[in-house]
């Protein structure tokens, strides 16, 4: 993963700029689905952007698992072509409100995805 990150940065410094999720998504949101589960919804306005995101390795369950420090098997992904949306669900690191939890609602856990290059 570190190597591909480095690759992205080099291409920014070079001439080809990668498309970042935050540039093409219309909504990137996270929220609890119950106190044990985090769910992330990505919405797109254009079908081409949705298709780019669906095909991107940056949003594979493996890549998302690495980004959130969970096991790939714990990430569930649903592609919803009818509404140009991708849904991700995974366990929370800590149950909501447990001492040490920093986001009771899980509403700011979308941030690592914003910079994902597609």
């Amino acid at each position: 993963m570190a190597a591909s990150r480095l690759g992205d940065r080099m291409s920014v410094a070079g001439c080809v700029s990668p498309t970042l999720l935050k540039q093409v998504a219309s909504v990137v949101r996270s929220k609890n689905a119950g106190p044990l589960c985090l769910t992330i919804d990505l919405f797109f306005s254009r079908r081409c952007d949705y298709e780019l995101a669906v095909a991107s390795t940056g949003l594979s369950t493996q890549a998302v698992a690495a980004l959130y420090s969970v096991q790939p098997a714990q990430v569930r992904r649903f592609d919803l072509p009818d509404i140009l949306a991708i849904k991700l669900a995974m366990p929370r690191a800590l149950c909501a409100g447990e001492p040490g939890d920093g986001d009771v609602y899980g509403a700011q856990q979308h941030a690592p995805l914003l910079e994902v290059s597609l």
Binding site: L36, R76, F78, L80, P91, L94, A96, G102, Y105
Partner: protein
């Protein structure tokens, strides 16, 4: 004749659509009166409000406190009760007082009573208590009827007997079956403790003979009022339910329920976009269709409800961790910022030596990954916000630990220190504050093989006021 009796006697599916007005997704935070009144002009057959959720964390369930401020809860209750009585239609309120345990139900009932008395409204109120004694869960644990919601989730294992007994409140989410039981008592108002958001809006239509799949899907969408619109809002939402479909319309003319905004809402706070588990079965959304009626209204059809062989109840329980004091401070010295984790550990050891006891410091270092783990390169080097939690059996010890910790961190000598005037910036003093009690979820599990009628206590009371009362 009560409002529910009147509706059951007068409405027949097929003759006209059932108009359901969702007034609030979080009663007690200020219902937008203009949109609500526009909804009333449409002559709804009944009004529903959701009042609670598990979202705000374990504190409310554990402590029995309401999340919404009492004055605003009273204001919202007044708005919906007076409207329901003026139209003589049923009012259904679910998850009373945030977490829906007995203290929440009682507090909500008390406020409703104050409003009813102030307006001389005589009414019949059905209540549903959703509390479970720990013994019921212990028994279920031993007989293998308590199950983790997601067996793959770490930490989602089963609590032990001691943990179950440590819960200050345990509730189960009641479903449509239980609310129908309450409605059969022919009240004007139903106030339920912890309940499925869907049951609030689906129970009456199901009693009237509407398709459970349609009724539950409608309920699932409108329980958040106008959140399913573009732009999303908190304004009252109207659903017109027929035998084949339902039509959604926000009561704020600026908000549009479009096929994609409504379909997208099915994803909200759901781990699985296609399935919604209810106590009595599963709502399947694979076949759901969304079509525009015009630019502000969407017609929805196609959801199916599959009954489960035996009901399962979602149970929630919270236990006290301790009293919590917090210390708020900022750090601007890059030398200290770089060393802060070690500094906190050293001060922690020192203060534990000064103040022996079972207290614990939980750091939240804003700028260093308090919200989510931050890679080194993204950590702030020039300003850090410190929220240090001190958890102890009682507030006196938590507060003492916070104060002693503060002073020791303020003057902590670290290698290369230049700022001998003090290590912390306080926005105000005292910078240590009492922060209620800390609770944790012990239970968020499934209870199997139970008869809801043996769990939920359904009751009814009649309120009448002398005519000259003020």
């Amino acid at each position: 004749m009560s409002a529910v009796a009147k509706l059951l006697a007068s409405h027949q599916p097929g003759a006209e659509r059932l108009r359901v007005l969702s007034a609030s997704g979080q009663l007690g935070y200020g219902i937008a009166a203009e949109s609500f009144e526009r909804g009333l002009e449409r002559r709804p057959h009944f009004i529903g409000c959701d009042m609670g959720s598990i979202d705000p964390g374990p504190y409310y369930l554990g402590s029995g406190q309401m999340a919404a401020p009492q004055a605003m809860v009273r204001r919202d209750l007044e708005l919906v009760l007076c409207a329901a009585r003026a139209l003589d239609v049923p009012l259904v309120i679910g998850s009373a007082g945030t977490a829906g345990a007995l203290p929440h139900l009682q507090a909500t009932l008390m406020l409703l009573r104050v409003v009813a008395q102030a307006h001389c409204l005589s009414l019949r109120v059905a209540t549903v208590a959703s509390d479970l004694p720990p013994e019921r869960l212990v028994e279920a644990l031993h007989s293998g009827r308590l199950r983790a919601l997601d067996e793959a989730t770490p930490g989602a294992g089963l609590p032990d007997e001691t943990q179950l007994r440590s819960c200050s409140h345990i509730v189960a989410q009641c479903g449509s079956h239980t609310l129908m039981q309450a409605l059969r008592l022919l009240p004007d108002v139903v106030i339920a403790g912890r309940s499925c958001d869907t049951a609030i809006y689906a129970a009456l239509p199901m009693m009237l003979g509407y398709d459970p799949g349609l009724a539950l899907h409608m309920a699932k969408i409108i329980e958040c009022t106008s959140l399913c619109c573009v732009p999303g809002g908190r304004d009252a939402m109207l659903a017109e339910l027929g035998e084949q479909d339902f039509v959604l319309e926000s009561m704020n003319p600026g908000l549009r329920a479009t096929p994609s905004s409504v379909a997208a809402h099915a994803l909200y706070e759901q781990a699985d976009p296609w399935r919604v588990d209810e106590p009595e079965g599963t709502l399947e959304l694979h076949q759901a269709r969304y079509e525009a009626v015009d630019d502000r209204r969407t017609r929805v059809s196609g959801a199916r409800f599959c009954l489960r062989a035996s009901p399962t109840l979602k149970v929630e329980g919270a236990a006290r961790v301790g009293a919590r004091a917090v210390l708020l401070a900022g750090v601007a010295d890059p030398g200290l910022i770089a060393l802060l984790p070690q500094a906190l550990t050293e001060v922690d050891v020192r203060v534990h030596h000064l103040l022996p006891g079972p207290w614990q410091m939980v750091p939240h270092l804003y700028g260093h990954g308090a919200v989510r783990p931050l890679p080194e390169s993204q950590r702030s080097q020039h300003e850090l916000g410190l929220v240090l939690e001190f958890l102890a059996p009682d507030m006196e010890q938590a507060r003492t630990a916070a104060a002693v910790f503060k002073q020791n961190l303020l003057h902590f000598g670290y290698p290369g220190r230049l700022s001998t005037g003090g290590n912390l910036a306080f926005a105000f003093t005292p910078s240590e504050c009492d922060a209620h009690d800390s609770y944790r979820f012990v239970l968020y599990h499934l209870l199997e093989g139970v008869d809801p009628e043996q769990v939920f206590v359904v009751d009814v009371q009649d309120w009448a006021w002398p005519e000259n009362a003020t």
